[in-house]
Symmetry: C2
Subunit: 142 residues, 2 copies
DNA sequence: TATTGTTATACTCTATAACTATA
DNA sequence: TATAGTTATAGAGTATAACAATA
């Protein structure tokens, strides 16, 4: 069977991304967090008091789709809100949220190490810079 | 604003993949094909008479989800079926399907060239091999 | 019995518009 | 007027189970 797409870096990019995301999702199951939830908790941990709209900018998620995610994290007592003004709040991690994030962060870092361990020196040296360039290529702004 | 995820190759992999897929989808709009439809047509073009189940294996799509995609391509007179036995057919491209695939293939190849043009020598040399390794890492079989 | 393809269904993710309340 | 957040909704993409027809 011939796979003409297997020669295209763009196709390989998608398949590699899907494979790694599926792997990370499985690894994060013990934390009861999805990959996006782990990302949200980690960003809040590093940016205490961040607002939803800023979270949306960083993760490129529409605000309408962020609302139910934050609501779920709040319902599970992982995230709290401190009013900033009448229309926005600063998000913070509860102590449970901090513990959950710490565990997820360990798993995410181990995942990265396992990924890089698969790559040879000539493959890994330019890997992250290449990805950053392509990411920026898709974002004509900035 | 601190983005702790921006240091993780796995996160960059996902962001780069999403950015490139969105760009390709926009570029393919003139063909009235989605990225997956362009992939399907291309695989059929290079594997005349392929069965749906084989297409599913190559693209890692569940057979239940392939059915409506092929039905749509058939309805649009891009793909036809030749009976193989009582339970399966070989897929082929109609002349319209061939023309459509050829146009999409040109766009996909131009897309790949534009991608690679963004990368420096040290970035591009190990890029595809790295992606293949990660893809295989997620597929313990074979 | 196993395989091919279909149907039905549900769940997630994403995208848009309209709404509120505040600034 | 613009912004932050919410609600409702529609469209993809994906996952499973059950089924018919055939090997």
């Amino acid at each position: 069977m011939i796979d003409p797409l297997a020669t295209l870096p763009g196709y390989l990019l998608r398949r590699a991304s899907n494979a790694m995301m599926a792997m990370l999702a499985r690894e994060l199951e013990v934390t009861c967090l999805t990959t996006v939830e782990a990302s949200i908790l980690t960003i809040i941990q590093f940016n205490d008091g961040i607002r939803q709209v800023e979270l949306c900018q960083i993760l490129d998620i529409k605000k309408a789709n962020m609302t139910p995610r934050i609501a779920s994290l709040e319902k599970r007592r992982l995230v709290g809100r401190k009013p900033i003004d009448g229309r926005s709040s600063g998000l913070f991690l509860t102590s449970l949220g901090q513990a959950c994030q710490a565990q997820a962060w360990q798993i995410m870092q181990a995942h990265e190490r396992a990924m890089l361990a698969q790559l040879g020196a000539s493959e890994s040296v330019g890997f992250a810079p290449a990805l950053v360039r392509l990411w920026q290529m898709g974002n004509p702004k900035t």
